[in-house]
């Protein structure tokens, strides 16, 4: 028997592909790449809406609701962090939403917590379709969650499909079958982003995020931030220089880990400095977040429409 060399089935790496990679890496060196920064440029027609205090909020949503209904493990596994969050929840925070996306969705800051003693900060947002009679809003991550979407139908794979499927409380299938109100137009919000400090391109160090469509309709997003990543000593404790994984040269591995340490500390110091520079005399830290929405119809996505939300969280 002889070895099948799968490599033979693939074409050579195209020159254009290699150039594209090199160019991307080159830009990376020249300036920090911010896809989101490109989106800011696209905000040509800013529509500014001051939403603070609008009596539209569905008050039952918030982090207390979230931890009690969706993420109930957290209070069991990290009870001290949980208490620090819920005991320190800040509500009615001032915020401002701008950008073309505001024509289609209303985004609200529900609540936030800043608990440096437990190295954690949290934020929750809620998004509604502005025209609830015309649009049904869902989180973009709820499309095609099963990985069976392919570019072309495979006759040998009965699961392969080219139609986009949407996950809702009605099940998983074609949007016309799973939308709660299929007569409406499907609108998707992309909440997969970072929270930037002030006007800088430095982000708060994200620990995790969760975004989902609630059974009542709004899309809720909850973000958790790891404040240890602002602290040089805490970063030291995260990186293990002693236990070298199998197959690694110790010196090479240590050099890599030291480089990671250096980078994490540099980034942490930058974020910590940005926090100082963007906190006002009353102790409110300015933050901003970029999101986008797009319609979906006839198995096709509409243009990505950007939006931005600016808000303040009390940190001292």
């Amino acid at each position: 028997m002889r070895k099948i060399d799968l490599e033979r089935a693939f074409p050579q790496t195209p020159t254009g592909f290699h150039q594209s990679v090199e160019q991307t890496l080159l830009n990376l060196k020249e300036e920090p790449m911010k896809k989101s920064a490109l989106r800011v440029v696209m905000l040509a027609a800013l529509i500014t809406t001051l939403l603070a205090g609008i009596a539209y909020a569905v008050i039952q949503y918030g982090q207390e609701w979230y931890f009690d209904t969706r993420f109930t493990n957290f209070q069991n596994h990290k009870p001290e962090e949980y208490r620090a969050i819920v005991d320190g929840l800040q509500k009615d925070l001032p915020y401002q939403v701008t950008g073309p996306a505001t024509e289609l969705v209303e985004l609200q800051v529900l609540d936030a917590a800043w608990a440096p003693e437990k190295s954690i900060a949290t934020l929750s947002l809620l998004a509604f379709a502005r025209d609830e009679g015309g649009y049904e809003l869902h989180d973009l991550q709820e499309m095609d969650t099963d990985g069976a979407l392919v570019g072309r139908i495979d006759p040998d794979d009965e699961e392969s499909r080219m139609d986009h499927w949407l996950w809702t409380t009605k099940g998983f299938g074609l949007p016309k079958d799973t939308m709660i109100h299929p007569e409406k137009q499907l609108l998707l919000i992309n909440n997969w982003g970072e929270i930037f400090i002030g006007e800088s391109d430095t982000a708060l160090p994200m620990g995790s995020s969760d975004s989902f469509t609630t059974s009542d309709g709004p899309v809720m997003s909850v973000y958790m931030f790891d404040l240890d990543l602002l602290d040089s000593a805490a970063i030291d404790a995260m990186i293990d220089l002693e236990n070298v994984p199998e197959g690694y040269d110790k010196t090479e591995y240590n050099n890599m880990q030291k480089e990671t340490l250096r980078w994490l500390k540099e980034r942490g110091a930058k974020a910590a400095q940005a926090i100082i520079e963007n906190t006002d005399d009353e102790g409110f830290l300015s933050l901003r977040y970029l999101f986008s929405v797009q319609t979906f119809q006839d198995n096709s996505f509409g243009e990505e429409i950007p939006g931005e939300i600016r808000f303040k969280v009390k940190i001292r």
Partner: protein, 162 residues
């Protein structure tokens, strides 16, 4: 991780990134765009990579997400077959292998490539694809069997050296 270390890590697995993008998207420009998306996202999110030895699996996972995003954006009848480039050497044998590989369901083909070509372990493939290790093993076994049947030869696949 600084830009230099990041770039070195990317260039080290550039071929692997191309193969994965190519397997999902086929078209050269789509592959380049998906990898560019993945590089930008991974650079922005590099702080989430705590252990540098997982750079390859981490970036591959991000690339797969980006490739799927691009698939989502494509029109339903987007035809890729004509755009698939020929193998490195356009021999009958290589074309048969290419065809056999492309006839595998994507869900079996990706683990096969990650394991047998890119040298990831079953555990790493399971992490990249967010699948249980048992599922990865069964998909690998099925893919190998289908490939051997399609090629009608007594050949074996060996695990690539990472």
């Amino acid at each position: 991780m600084d830009a230099k270390t990041f770039s070195q890590g990317v260039l080290k697995i550039e071929r692997s990134l191309f193969r994965i993008a190519y397997t999902y998207l086929g078209h050269e420009q789509d592959c380049a765009d998906a990898v560019q998306d993945a590089l930008i996202i991974s650079w922005e999110k590099r702080h989430t990579l705590r252990q540098p030895q997982y750079f390859g699996t981490w970036l591959t996972r991000i690339l797969i997400n980006c490739a799927k995003q691009r698939l989502r954006a494509q029109r339903p009848n987007h035809e890729l077959a004509d755009t698939y480039p020929a193998p490195q050497e356009d021999t009958v044998e290589n074309l048969a292998l290419k065809m056999a590989l492309e006839n595998l369901p994507l869900k079996d083909r990706i683990p096969l490539i990650l394991f047998h070509l890119d040298g990831y372990s079953v555990k790493e493939v399971s992490n990249i694809l967010h699948l249980p290790q048992g599922t990865v093993k069964s998909r690998l076994a099925r893919a190998r069997m289908k490939l051997k049947e399609a090629l009608k030869v007594e050949e074996v696949l060996v695990h690539a050296q990472n």
